[in-house]
């Protein structure tokens, strides 16, 4: 995969699918943004009472459930329009601008519940905004893809190293303990793992090694690169199925085209 535009298109398609699902999920729980809901602005606005009154009023205006609903619809439309619009066009730029600005505002409005998939989505879409803008040339476009690949590698490596320094992960207990919770686990699987410490150990250490070594994929174009990517695909798919963390799958898989592109370019440069 050495075609820059194709790499961007694939990244955009995967990231957009994740953001579409996420937007639709929020639309179905829009009542959570009511006064009595978990995202009640009546409570969350205590964070802005120290701001000037006009800013408070401005934020208040855009924080009602109805406005959030409309903003989410506009985000869905922006995603759909961007999918069929040429890069570097003004329409594409404004779609990306809206998606990024709304993401920042939406994160502030919710205050809780953001996760790694939202953070990765933000990185991917702000890269689209800045590196595919009408002012961006080929070099910046290429830089954007390398940036996404690098951020993805940093995320995996950080997660792996944080697990490596954890005695719970090193001892091989962590996966069972996480899956033994109602929030993230499945009772049948938890019971199955309870009786198989060797399997737990394998799951913990394969996660540690895969995540920590993931940046190697950037300099390992060929079978090793595909090993990492297939591992990652199955890793995120299993997390989505077992733990219900569906948004992580799209957010992280969307960075894989960039990793393939960057790896191919680096291998050419090294050879």
């Amino acid at each position: 995969m050495t075609d820059l535009n194709f790499t961007y298109r694939l990244t955009l398609a995967l990231a957009s699918l994740g953001l579409l699902v996420s937007s639709l999920e929020y639309l179905t729980i829009i009542s959570s943004f009511n006064l009595q809901g978990v995202y009640s602005w009546k409570v969350l606005r205590v964070r802005v009472i120290s701001l000037p009154r006009w800013i408070q009023e401005w934020i208040d205006r855009y924080s009602s459930p109805r406005t959030i609903f409309v903003c989410l619809i506009i985000r869905i439309l922006s995603i759909l329009i961007a999918l069929i619009t040429p890069f570097n066009s003004l329409i594409f730029f404004f779609c990306m601008l809206y998606i990024v600005v709304f993401s920042v505002f939406f994160q502030f409005r919710r205050a809780f519940g953001d996760d790694g998939s939202d953070q990765m989505n933000f990185i991917v879409f702000i890269t689209f905004l800045l590196c595919l803008s009408p002012l961006a040339g080929e070099m910046l476009k290429q830089f954007g893809i390398f940036f996404i690949a690098l951020q993805s590698c940093i995320s995996y490596a950080t997660s792996g190293i944080a697990k490596l320094v954890s005695s719970t992960w090193r001892s091989g207990d962590a996966v069972y303990r996480i899956l033994n919770t109602q929030s993230y686990g499945i009772q049948l699987l938890s019971s199955y793992l309870q009786k198989r410490p060797a399997l737990n150990f394998l799951l913990c250490w394969s996660t540690i090694l895969f995540e920590t070594l993931f940046p190697v994929s950037l300099i390992a174009y060929g079978p090793w690169l595909w090993t990492f990517l297939i591992w990652g695909f199955l890793f995120h798919l299993s997390i989505a199925i077992v733990m219900g963390l569906n948004s992580f799958f799209w957010a992280f898989i969307s960075t894989y085209p960039a990793i393939i592109y960057a790896s191919a370019k680096i291998s050419v440069a090294l050879s």
């Binding site: 994160q107 919710r110 790694g116 953070q119 989505a240």
Partner: protein, 189 residues
């Protein structure tokens, strides 16, 4: 490269540098306090998923009512998690409405030591107010006894594992909070 492109590259490199620094936030160096102050929208990522200390427990939110005749109801649980469906790997809105309550509870619990376990300090934190708000809008436990003003108390429990017999511990018990007639009216409508 034009000026715009140089600016974007510089910003991207700065972002990468700050992101890497942010991963070591547990060291709580002066630079981390500066980053926290500047990053008001919490844009810088933290990638330490389920590490170094993975969550190994579930929080449960229960509440009860005290009426004017001093009678107190049994505890009623407000579910913080729901069983997943077969399609949750693709479509899982519950994650955003239910699990966030669990995240809020977790944040509240993590702030208990900083407040010396004093409820007075905790009661003014956003997580406490959010849980209180959600709990306050639940219907009265005893509809008949709740015709007049009543009070509500909530309790956070922590359990370990799926089995009902698994270990559980009390994490936080709130004061009794009056439920205003306005909230009652909303509940009944």
């Amino acid at each position: 490269m034009n000026g715009y492109e140089v600016l974007v590259v510089v910003l991207a490199l700065l972002w990468t540098f700050l992101s890497i620094l942010n991963q070591f936030e547990q060291l709580n160096l002066p630079i981390h306090r500066v980053i926290q102050k500047l990053d008001i929208f919490q844009l810088l990522p933290l990638w330490t998923f389920f590490a170094p200390n993975p969550g190994q427990s579930d929080y449960h939110l229960v509440y009860r009512d005290r009426y004017q005749d001093n009678s107190i109801t049994d505890w009623v649980e407000l579910s913080l998690s729901e069983p997943r469906n077969w399609y949750s790997f693709f479509w899982n809105p519950q994650k955003r409405s239910k699990k966030v309550l669990s995240d809020i509870a977790s944040t509240l619990v993590s702030s208990i030591p900083r407040n010396n376990e004093s409820l007075e300090g905790l009661m003014f934190t956003t997580p406490y107010l959010l849980l209180l708000n959600v709990v306050s809008h639940q219907p009265p436990v005893n509809l008949h006894a709740a015709e007049n003003k009543f009070e509500r108390q909530f309790l956070l429990l922590e359990t370990f594992g799926f089995k009902p017999s698994s270990e559980q511990r009390y994490v936080l018990r709130s004061n009794y909070h009056p439920i205003t007639p306005l909230q009652k009216k909303k509940i009944s409508s």
